[in-house]
């Protein structure tokens, strides 16, 4: 695919130069990009209108149209996002460790940019600015491939950013948008090993599956979240209720929202009626196992599929378990390795849950909703990794770098 080969080559060349660009210059460019975005609001809105009209013509749902829509305010928010990235510390150049070997070699491990990062994402145009800013700040070149629904908006945002960044002095070619928005271009980007060092998909389960199946470039899965809250026998039940309501209802459409509630059998009778009432008052649909359906006959009986599903909606699956062992086994069987919480007053059970549950983030007595780069204090987030290599959990600037060993010798041989 000619477009990808050209952009890949250009990005690779720029990546070598990006590796030695100073923090000052990167920050200056990010601020110039923010300024340009504000100055070009009118142009961005005009291009965005084309996407919105196309969306309406194609019968796009109101919710998606809303996510696609740019406004004055949203453009200023994007610009503000760029300024925030400029304000973050630069991870590049940090000496992670340095040792001196018996033969006198000094071996240092230093953070360096990854090189060329490919990002495949879906409809929201603000990702174009966010993702480019984070990759650039970490010293990488970036190739973005957004969804066709936002093609005009994405192209306009990229043009405005490129012009400002290159005028500020960043190497030309350090950011690209793939204009071909066919499925083939996404697949080609995942297989562009010659030029791309890592692929990060940001989107739903279908996109993640396509990357797992087709990518030959190393990928970082940012994933789905089938997150559980387990209410232990010794839980503070009022705290449990607050945590469940928050984890389930504060923002049900995101990956760190709770999808399943597990309740120890010894507290089920006391806890479930009030909990279910509080959930239904918030409009949450209850899917339950046999015990739950007996307590609350309006519950929909859970199927095997329910336990593995990420609803991303005002729906919750509830199951009564006989022990903490059963809770942990259920979670490790069905979860998506994202975020899991226990509510307990037991020291032993808290430790055991932290040790044995297999997930990127495991909580004691807190809502799963905190799994987020901002909440973790990283100041930014490119996604939440649910795989185990390279990065696990919220990924900030540091996760957009790799390391290099630098070795200072004075003639050592083996």
């Amino acid at each position: 695919m000619q477009e990808l080969i050209e952009k890949g080559k250009s990005a690779k060349e720029a990546a070598y130069r990006m590796a030695s660009v100073s923090t000052d210059l990167k920050n200056k460019a990010l601020l110039a990009m923010a300024e340009a975005m504000c100055r070009e609001t009118e142009y961005l809105l005009k291009e965005n209108t084309v996407d919105i009209e196309n969306g309406r013509k194609n019968g796009m749902k109101a919710g998606l149209i809303d996510r696609l829509t740019l406004t004055d305010e949203r453009i200023h928010a994007m610009a503000e996002g760029l300024r925030q990235v400029a304000a973050l510390p630069d991870p590049v150049g940090e000496m992670v460790e340095q040792t001196r070997r018996p033969n006198g070699l000094r071996i240092g491990k230093v953070r360096v940019p990854i090189g060329v990062i490919g990002i495949i994402y879906e409809a929201r145009p603000n990702v174009t600015a966010d993702a480019a800013a984070l990759c650039i700040k970490a010293g990488n070149a970036v190739i973005l491939r957004g969804g066709k629904e936002a093609a005009y908006s994405n192209r306009a945002i990229m043009q405005v950013m490129q012009k400002a960044a290159y005028a500020a002095g960043l190497p030309e070619g350090c950011m690209h948008l793939v204009e071909d928005t066919t499925r083939e271009s996404a697949t080609a980007l995942m297989r562009l090993n010659q030029y791309v060092d890592v692929i990060i998909p940001r989107g739903g389960a279908g996109l993640i599956r396509a990357v797992v199946e087709n990518a030959t470039v190393p990928a970082i899965e940012t994933g789905t979240g089938n997150c559980h809250v387990y209410v232990d026998a010794s839980a503070d039940l009022e705290m449990a209720k607050r945590i469940v309501i928050n984890a389930k209802t504060q923002r049900p459409s995101v990956c760190n929202a709770e999808e399943k509630l597990l309740v120890h059998q010894s507290v089920a009778e006391t806890f479930l009626p009030g909990m279910i009432q509080a959930l239904t008052e918030k409009g949450v649909e209850i899917i339950g196992d046999e015990t739950v359906c007996a307590v609350y006959p309006k519950a929909i009986p859970a199927t095997e599929e329910d336990w593995a599903e990420e609803y991303l909606d005002l729906k919750i699956g509830i199951k009564v378990v006989a022990s903490i062992e059963d809770a942990i086994a259920h979670i490790n069987r069905y979860n998506s390795r994202h975020s899991e919480a226990i509510v307990t007053e037991s020291y032993i059970n808290a430790q055991r849950f932290l040790d044995e549950v297999d997930a990127a983030a495991v909580y004691v007595n807190a809502s799963t909703r905190f799994t987020d780069g901002f909440e973790f204090g990283f100041g930014a987030e490119i996604g939440i990794s649910t795989q185990k290599i390279h990065a696990r959990g919220p990924m900030g600037l540091r996760e957009l770098t790799t390391s290099k060993y630098v070795i200072y010798g004075d003639g050592q041989i083996r």
Copy 2:
């Protein structure tokens, strides 16, 4: 493939239990495995004989037969390797960092096992013991898939290790050998996403390519090494000669051996004749660019392919460059991101080379032969990663772990 599904499932279940096995128990098991290996020397030698006979029947080269052959001494060396792994510090449980957020959440990042590691390797039976020991020590379950040439030896080693490890108390299923040694079993292992968390290929370029092409499980490429030594204008030429001889000839068949020599034009005339003489005295074949062929007419003219090739032999490609820029550009174009060295007395050029060369390990005034887990002080090595995500350069026990965020709350909600 039934065998893989069964072993995958068994390994996955064992992996959950392995995550909480104490360091003491892991060490006890490793020592028991070492002891069993020494006790069962006769059995191991007998099984090894079958592989050797099959190798001879199939016309295997003497060098390969030698690598395949077990002796009393080699079996004791394998056992000693297991004891050394037992003596290494356990990476699991290390709290890498812990922060306290404004809302009181304490967020810790702790090292945990990866889970199930699949290793695909070629002929040498000692890898069976080495790789299993490292994976186990880092708290993982492991599925090994060795080459068919060593099938009997590998099976015998695995049986001896399993019996000792399980008797010592390690969870059954924590180590498996795939007995099917067809190409299909390797491919199936790379695609066993349901049970395998990461795949590490250990072998030549063909195996690495097969993994890049076919793996759906995240893989860590351990790679080929087209390593360069660049002799700068200001180099101490005696030191340069020592380093080149060492890097090229001390062990030419390994990935951190030098394959190419770049020489700054201003020292070419002084340096090349003596250097070439020293190399040829060591039996090294010279492949050169035009200048080199002019200085040394017996040199074989280099083709474009030569610059990218990993000879793994007593052969060297030599090129004269006009500047350090040209040297860096040539290296970044042709190298395999493994190990690169500059010999220089210039502070500026040393820094520049360290900054701009894209490789796992970049040296000033030392031989590339030091890129090795033991030389780096890790006490062990599972391979040398030439990719940029997860691990770069020599991988020790730490690189066989991932991290998990553990979050201590007291009722926090968003």
